[in-house]
C-alpha cells in the first residue's frame, strides 16, 4: 500500500498529497503525521492539497481532524492550495473547517508559518 510522504524542512513538516485520496490512505496519513510531529517536535505542518480533485464528507472531515491533531501536538497546521471545486464541495457538505488555517500556495503557507514562529 502506498503512503503519502512527509518531508521535514527544519522545524516544519511538509505533506504534499499528489494522489487521489481514499479512506485508508487518509487514516494512514493521520497516523504517520501525528507520529512525525511528535518525533521531530515539529512547530509547523504544511499540507498541500493542490492535486486533490475529489473529496467526500469523510475525507473532508479527516482533513479537518488532521489539522486539529497537529495543533494539539503544538504544531500550527496550514492547509494550502485547495481547488475551487473542492472548496465548493466542502461548503456544500457543510464542512467549513473552523479553526483550520489556509493559504493559497505553498509559498504563502510557508511565509505564514515563518512569520508566526520568528
Amino acid at each position: 500500500m502506498d503512503r503519502i510522504p512527509i518531508l521535514r524542512m527544519g522545524e516544519f513538516l511538509l505533506v504534499s498529497i499528489q494522489v487521489d485520496l481514499h479512506d485508508q490512505l487518509v487514516l494512514q496519513l493521520q497516523d504517520d503525521l501525528t507520529n512525525a510531529v511528535h518525533r521531530h517536535a515539529a512547530r509547523g505542518v504544511l499540507i498541500d492539497i493542490s492535486a486533490v480533485e475529489v473529496v467526500d464528507s469523510f475525507i473532508g472531515r479527516m482533513i479537518s481532524d488532521i489539522s486539529s491533531m497537529g495543533r494539539i501536538l503544538g504544531a500550527r497546521t496550514v492547509l494550502v492550495g485547495m481547488r475551487p471545486a473542492v472548496a465548493i464541495t466542502l461548503v456544500e457538505l457543510g464542512l467549513s473547517l473552523p479553526g483550520v488555517e489556509t493559504a493559497l500556495t505553498v509559498e504563502r503557507g510557508m511565509l505564514r508559518l515563518r512569520a508566526e514562529n520568528s
Binding site: R83, P84, A87, T102, T105, R108
Partner: protein, 283 residues
C-alpha cells in the same frame, strides 16, 4: 371513401390546389395584416406551396395520425416555420393562423367536391378538422419550444453578464454583484470568483453587494457559503456595499455574520484590503 383520401384527391388536382392556395394567401394576409408584416408575400406563397405539397404527399399515404412517419416531413416543415416566426417576434396566435386560415378554403373545396351529399361532406370536414387541429397544435408546440429556447439563452447571457470579476489591485479582486441572488447565480458567482483567485493568486476578494436589492436569510446563507469557500482556499473575503436598510434586515433576521468582514462601501473595503496585503497609501 374516408375523409383523408378525399383531401388527398383534392390536393392531387393542380387546379384545385391552386384555388385553395390563392384563397389561403388572401386569408393569411387579412389575418396577419396590420402587424409587422415581416414576411413578404413571396415567402408566404413559397411556404404555402410547400405546405400543400407536403400535405398532399402525407394524405396520399392514407394515414390520419399526425404523429406517424408519413407526416414527418410536414412536421419538420411546420417546426421550421414556427421557429422562424418565433425569432421574428410573431405572436403565438399569428403563428397558429398559418394553419387555421387554411381551413376555410379547404372546406369550401370539400363542399364543392361533395355536392349535395351531406353525410359524406360532414365526414370529410370532420377528418379535415381533426387533421388541421393536430397540425395547428404541433405548430404552437414548436413555437413555444423555440420561445423557451430564446428565454433560456437570455437567462444564461444575463448570468454571465452579471458576474464580472475585476482585478482592483495586485492581489485584490472585486466582484460587484447586481440583481437578486439565488442558488444558481451564487453557484456561478462562487465558481468564477474561486477560479479567478487561483488564476491571479489574489489573497483578498471584495464582494460588493451594492446592487443586490434585498438580503434575506437565503441570500445571507449564499454569501456566507462564498465567504467560507474563499477562506478554505486561503483567501480572505470582505463584503462591501452594505446599505443601512440591509444592515437592519440582517440583524433583525438574526443572521450571524460574525467572522465576516463587512464595510459600508467599496472604498473602505479597498482601503482595508490594501492594508491587509501590506500596501500603504499616501497622498
Amino acid at each position: 371513401m374516408t375523409g383523408i383520401t378525399s383531401i388527398a384527391d383534392l390536393l392531387g388536382s393542380p387546379v384545385k390546389q391552386q384555388t385553395i392556395q390563392t384563397q389561403w394567401l388572401r386569408n393569411l394576409s387579412t389575418a396577419v395584416s396590420g402587424t409587422r408584416g415581416s414576411i413578404s408575400s413571396d415567402e408566404l406563397a413559397k411556404q404555402t406551396q410547400e405546405f400543400l405539397q407536403l400535405l398532399s404527399a402525407a394524405t396520399r399515404s392514407g394515414a390520419s395520425d399526425v404523429d406517424g412517419a408519413a407526416y414527418k416531413p410536414l412536421r419538420d416543415f411546420l417546426e421550421g416555420v414556427s421557429r422562424s416566426r418565433a425569432q421574428q417576434g410573431f405572436t403565438s396566435a399569428e403563428t397558429a393562423m398559418f394553419i387555421f386560415s387554411f381551413k376555410q378554403p379547404l372546406f369550401e373545396q370539400l363542399h364543392a367536391a361533395n355536392g349535395t351529399n351531406a353525410a359524406a361532406l360532414a365526414q370529410d370536414i370532420w377528418a379535415a378538422t381533426q387533421l388541421l387541429d393536430a397540425l395547428g397544435l404541433h405548430t404552437i408546440k414548436a413555437y413555444q419550444l423555440s420561445r423557451e429556447d430564446v428565454i433560456r439563452r437570455q437567462q444564461e447571457d444575463m448570468l454571465e453578464l452579471s458576474t464580472p470579476v475585476v482585478k482592483l489591485w495586485d492581489g485584490i479582486l472585486a466582484l460587484p454583484m447586481i440583481g437578486t441572488l439565488d442558488s444558481a447565480r451564487t453557484q456561478v458567482v462562487m465558481e468564477s470568483l474561486l477560479n479567478r483567485i487561483v488564476e491571479t493568486g489574489s489573497e483578498v476578494a471584495i464582494l460588493d453587494i451594492t446592487g443586490v436589492p434585498t438580503v434575506d436569510t437565503l441570500v445571507a446563507q449564499h454569501l456566507l457559503k462564498t465567504v467560507t469557500a474563499l477562506r478554505l482556499m486561503g483567501a480572505e473575503c470582505i463584503i462591501s456595499g452594505v446599505r443601512p436598510q440591509i444592515a437592519q434586515t440582517i440583524v433583525h433576521l438574526g443572521v450571524d455574520l460574525q467572522g465576516v468582514t463587512t464595510k459600508a462601501n467599496l472604498a473602505d473595503a479597498l482601503a482595508l484590503a490594501l492594508k491587509r496585503t501590506g500596501y500603504t497609501v499616501s497622498r
